[in-house]
Point group: C2
DNA sequence: CTTTCATTTGAATAGTTGCTCATATATTTC
DNA sequence: GAAATATATGAGCAACTATTCAAATGAAAG
């Protein structure tokens, strides 16, 4: 959070091998070791980082839907949709319920969509 | 936003090929056609969806840093770091300034980190 | 029981990606 | 100018991923 001025922090004139600003590295290293699991956020973003899955989440934000409807909506095969829904379900982003032969999917919770919307706002600047 | 009850919306008894709930699909399709570019969010998330890049952003959130310091901090080669910084810069997530031989990177804006933090909160539930 | 249909699943494939290695560029110092 | 150093860059490679295709489930209907 505190932005240090670089010009005054060069305490190691010539880097031994790769490190130049020893104090900065130590400070940042200490701050980063506190909550390690922030890095697991990458796994969540990896799931968001696919056009098909974003479209699916967005569709389900509007309404609960069955697999074949989503396939029609996105103009993709049922198999492809089913594969992606499996990934979304494993990540606990969607849930499903069965009604006869038809399986209906919906968002696991509303909070998920807030992350998408905020990212959307960021892009529009 | 409005969750419709599925059981009462089956207006097409037998699906022609793949579509079952015509009205739902039409409604969702209409809602999704409004702001197309929400789907471009996937590109932003694709960048967030990498452990190394998340760690870099997190480090730069603490302090401006040069390439070799980041390489030392993350225990990776300078080349690998440089490649990732290039991706982050193309996405306008970081900026850099040159001072002699050394190139210092920093976050392009603070808003970026808010998205990460919110995702982090979501994971912790 | 057989057929039909919605969905799932696994293997195969084409495309993408993150890293490494070698090399190039740019700047300082001698 | 030559050597040293910080960074950037491009090719190559191994690992991963999204889709397709074929086949398997599982439930309803005849």
């Amino acid at each position: 959070m505190v932005r240090t001025k670089m010009g005054s922090n060069i305490d190691v004139e010539i880097c031994e091998q790769t490190i130049i600003h020893k104090d900065v590295v130590q400070k940042v290293s200490k701050a980063m070791s506190n909550d390690e699991d922030l890095e697991n956020v990458a796994d969540l973003f990896k799931i968001f980082g696919d056009r098909t899955r974003i479209r699916l989440l967005r569709a389900l934000y509007q309404s609960e839907m069955c697999v074949c409807d989503m396939a029609y909506l996105l103009d993709m095969t049922q198999s492809a949709i089913s594969h992606q829904l499996r990934i979304l379900k494993q990540a606990k982003l969607v849930k499903n319920r069965k009604e006869g032969k038809v399986v209906y999917y919906s968002l696991a919770d509303q909070h998920v969509m807030q992350i998408l919307v905020q990212a959307y706002d960021h892009i529009k600047e």
